[in-house]
């Protein structure tokens, strides 16, 4: 009995830490925007942490994910480091993409994150292709495609679901239904039910509370294991909520979403607070230990931000590098 309990404790701790890390990352990213230190805009993942963490904790490093414009959470959950992430957000040379991608294209190849995507639904083919590749090469890897409720309106999804089902591909379509796409409520843009759409292709579909990291993780463990055995594809709808505006600049948003609704989710359904309470009640961690974890992670994030602010931009000569694989500088090639 004793070793099993220990494993669980470690898993719980890891899930808690990863959710806190995402929240800390986003709080800092938002601050960078508000203090005009970050180029461009970014989309906050805060509120949705249990989705990325619950799923990614069921994956191995070699498993693949594809992410979205709201992608920092997936990136952290799949194992990325703060330093390289903040550098990327600030367009610095030490960023994961050498500053070329920024927030909306952050990718972390070493942990199987094939990248965020600024085209809504743009990664549905890519995730399915990764699953196709895994099956073809016999790697036993699983691919998870994260996307929002709004992305379910893209026709691409229906094309690739059909092929994934026909060919039993190890892909899990994970729809984060946060109730909105930009400034529009999901019920105004989605006819019928999302789970029924997947079921129409004969794909097993689940709906889960995306604020409950244990529920998400339990389901993900099962589906990932089955996908590895060739029983995929699967669809999961995760009901969740984004705390910030559509992007960091979307501040006056009462016209499409009430402050009461936001407060209700934040106060009663916060995935981190609720999981922390559960850990305390179960005797896994004390209140003091929870605070200590939070403080340590906040300090880590702050140190990474300070590092990234001082880090160097890429040298100008990099502007035409990486256009073509195998070509050092595209301008002297094309």
């Amino acid at each position: 009995m004793a070793p099993k309990k220990k494993t669980n404790t470690e898993d719980y701790l890891q899930m808690y830490r990863q959710m806190v890390r995402i929240r800390a990352f986003e709080d800092n990213a938002n601050q960078l925007y508000l203090s005009a230190k970050m180029p461009g805009l970014t989309h906050m993942y805060s509120g949705q942490e249990a989705v990325a963490v619950g799923i990614c904790e069921a994956l191995e490093d070699t498993d693949k994910i594809t992410s979205t414009h709201r992608g920092h959470g997936h990136c952290v959950a799949k194992g990325a480091e703060f330093k390289e992430m903040f550098c990327e957000l600030l367009g610095k040379a030490e960023g994961y993409c050498r500053g070329k991608g920024g927030s909306m294209h952050i990718a972390d190849q070493s942990h199987g994150n094939l990248g965020a995507n600024a085209i809504v639904g743009g990664s549905m083919g890519i995730a399915t292709g990764a699953a196709f590749s895994a099956k073809r090469l016999g790697t036993k890897d699983v691919a998870v495609c994260f996307f929002g409720d709004g992305a379910t309106a893209q026709g691409l999804w229906y094309e690739v679901m059909n092929m994934a089902a026909l060919w039993s591909l190890p892909v899990i379509y994970a729809c984060e239904n946060n109730g909105y796409s930009e400034y529009t409520k999901t019920e105004e843009i989605a006819a019928g039910s999302l789970t029924a759409r997947a079921q129409a292709f004969g794909i097993e579909a689940h709906s889960v509370d995306g604020q409950d990291v244990l529920a998400v993780n339990e389901l993900a463990q099962k589906l990932v294991a089955r996908a590895r055995k060739g029983e995929g594809p699967f669809f999961i709808e995760l009901k969740t909520y984004r705390y910030h505006g559509h992007h960091v600049g979307d501040i006056n948003r009462d016209y499409y979403r009430s402050k009461d609704e936001e407060a209700e989710w934040k106060i009663t359904r916060d995935p981190i607070v609720n999981f922390g309470k559960w850990l305390e009640a179960e005797g896994v961690l004390s209140a003091d230990e929870l605070v200590a974890i939070n403080d340590e992670i906040k300090a880590d994030a702050k140190a990474a931000v300070d590092y990234a602010l001082d880090a160097a931009y890429p040298p100008t000569g990099e502007v035409d590098m990486h256009v073509f694989a195998g070509v050092d500088h595209a301008l002297s090639y094309v």
Partner: protein, 332 residues
């Protein structure tokens, strides 16, 4: 009577005026109604025209583009709002295989009177999928007209003309200019397609510049003026159709030309215009015609790199000096 309004307001007025005039017009796209688009260009229109004419869609670009094409063939006059020019790649089949060819393939029997409003322009730190200037792609397809307004004045006049046109028209607004103001008449006006504007007269070099690059060319002309070089600045305003005559007669006078456009330089608008000048004014030229487009790389996110990819007043002026001095790379 003229007043100064933003490009955003100019677009809004053009749509409202035309919708009041013609009940066949509707507008369709993502977050166009209550939200009035992320750039807030369409604010207030749904209040006046209602949700049956200002229509919010799901994030289904090929779907609503196709619906617009079919509606245009059957008595409606749709204005399609495509939030970013980069999303053109999603609607290309409906636009280029369907809308562009229908009139021709039907032997002139069917018409597709629709407007696709979208945008272009980098240096907004939006990275490679939200910064492209893709007008050359659609200009390449016979059957599509392409307008490139360079100020609030052009945005209003060209959009009204586009809405009244019986063909598919793609109009690209510079997303960095939505809040820029320019004098716009109170009274109604239209800007005909295929009429370039000579924005500044000069006699030593012609700068042909489109859309976002018009301001760059005007600033370059100021810099050149300080060096005693007299530059003429021409804005074609539409590239399909292209007002060749205004460009050619300017070049016949100045004997030199630089073409500046924010699309990628290779296989782009600058090459097309430069080659028409070379073909049709060759014997008047004293220097090779220079193309200046966006660097042929995907738009990088990092500000340190992104700013290198677009022509600036300084780089345009430098090329103009070289041209006038006979020191251009190819000049023997």
């Amino acid at each position: 009577m003229s007043r100064e309004i933003t490009l955003s307001k100019a677009v809004n007025e053009a749509i409202a005026e035309e919708m009041r005039r013609d009940p066949a017009i509707f507008l369709i796209g993502e977050d166009v109604a209550e939200a009035g688009t992320p750039f807030k260009v369409l604010s207030g229109l749904v209040e006046e025209f209602g949700p049956d004419r200002i229509i919010d869609t799901p994030i289904s670009e090929p779907g609503f583009m196709g619906i617009a094409v079919g509606a245009a063939m059957t008595g409606s006059r749709p204005i399609v709002d495509l939030m970013f020019g980069d999303f053109l790649f999603l609607v290309m089949d409906q636009l280029c295989n369907q809308a562009a060819k229908t009139h021709y393939m039907s032997g002139g029997k069917l018409q597709v009177p629709l407007v696709l409003r979208t945008n272009l322009g980098a240096t907004r730190r939006s990275a490679a999928q939200h910064s492209q200037s893709l007008h050359a792609l659609v200009a390449h397809i016979p059957g599509l007209k392409v307008a490139l307004p360079s100020s609030a004045y052009e945005a209003k006049g060209l959009l009204k003309t586009a809405i009244r046109d019986d063909n598919p028209v793609v109009i690209f607004e510079d997303k960095l200019m939505y809040n820029d103001k320019a004098p716009v008449p109170e009274e109604e006006y239209l800007i005909p397609f295929g009429e370039a504007a000579v924005l500044r007269e000069g006699h030593e070099i012609t700068l042909v510049a489109t859309s976002s690059m018009v301001q760059v060319a005007l600033k370059a002309a100021d810099l050149l003026d300080r060096d005693g070089i007299s530059a003429e600045v021409i804005d074609p305003r539409t590239i399909v159709p292209l007002d060749e005559e205004t460009i050619l007669s300017s070049v016949r006078k100045t004997s030199r030309a630089i073409v500046i456009d924010e699309g990628h330089q290779n296989f782009g608008i600058t090459g097309e215009i430069a080659s028409r000048i070379s073909e049709k004014a060759f014997y008047h030229l004293d220097a090779p015609v220079v193309r200046m487009g966006a660097m042929d790389v995907p738009v990088p996110f990092s500000p340190a790199l992104e700013d290198l990819t677009v022509p600036t007043p300084e780089t345009v002026a430098e090329n103009a000096r070289l041209s006038v001095r006979g020191e251009l790379f190819h000049a023997a």
